[in-house]
Symmetry: C2
Subunit: 159 residues, 2 copies
């Protein structure tokens, strides 16, 4: 294994580990539990779940690896707070979550060392020349952190 | 910058970004706010803060980069739940948190590419031969995630 492949493998393993936790947290919940708030007056579990699905859906585009699944849900889960929109039915969310993470999983295994250091699609070539850390690897690392952040919150309502 | 140094730089930047968030969350809180629970019946902010300080204190040893600061606090914040022990005074915790993260920051900048792929101190040479991902980089990545997980919870009580 090349040197940087070792580092990428660590990051992918940590991503998967967090994703398994999220699957356990959200995957088996019925609709009534999904309505619970993580703390009084805070986001419902169902909103956090959709927020993570939208974030991962966007990763497909940012990493340039696959078509998005439900970009139209960004308006519900990324640019509006909980309570502002009617949410998709739970069975639609379940399929969405599975499909987004299936596409990510298939692609993460395919990315080579050079790919990780390439710019992500939301940064221009000009900006990337000055800020080489705005690469695909940063998308993986920061979205793994984002996942851990919300798992920490969701755990409070589900344990 | 070497290929793997780019990946390590992304991970260190994400670590620092999370640490700044934690400093903002916990650094300015007075004792009464630190007593707040992140959700009803859950950990107090002061316990989470100590739990993070102990975890980072252990990183100094796991990465083999510096002496630990307060290993005797592990019994309070790592192996006992909130409420089981008398906590150190807040001014002691504040100095501890600053010193641990100062030692980490100084050392992370010194580590070279080869160092990141080296085994961490809690895995034997024999086990590491079979599990090469149990390296120092995995300590940085997983502890950054651990930090994000608890920042997500602490945010619920401080915003």
């Amino acid at each position: 294994m090349l040197n940087e492949e070792t580092l990428a493998a660590v990051a992918i393993a940590t991503w998967k580990n967090n994703l398994e936790k999220a699957n356990k947290l959200f995957g088996g919940l019925d609709e009534s539990v999904l309505e619970k708030q993580v703390a009084p007056g805070r986001n419902r579990l169902v909103y956090l779940w959709g927020h993570l699905a939208s974030t991962h859906d966007r990763m497909l585009q940012l990493l340039g690896i696959a078509e998005r699944v439900h970009p139209e849900f960004d308006a519900i889960f990324l640019t509006s707070p909980d309570g502002a929109s009617t949410l998709p039915p739970v069975d639609v969310m379940r399929k969405w979550w599975a499909e987004v993470n299936r596409r990510l999983d298939a692609s993460l295994r395919e990315l080579k060392s050079n790919d990780w250091r390439a710019r992500h699609t939301a940064v221009s070539e000009e900006d990337f020349a000055n800020e080489p850390l705005r690469n695909r690897f940063s998308i993986l690392i920061t979205r793994t952190n984002h996942l851990a952040y919300h798992i920490g919150q969701a755990t409070l309502a589900t344990k």
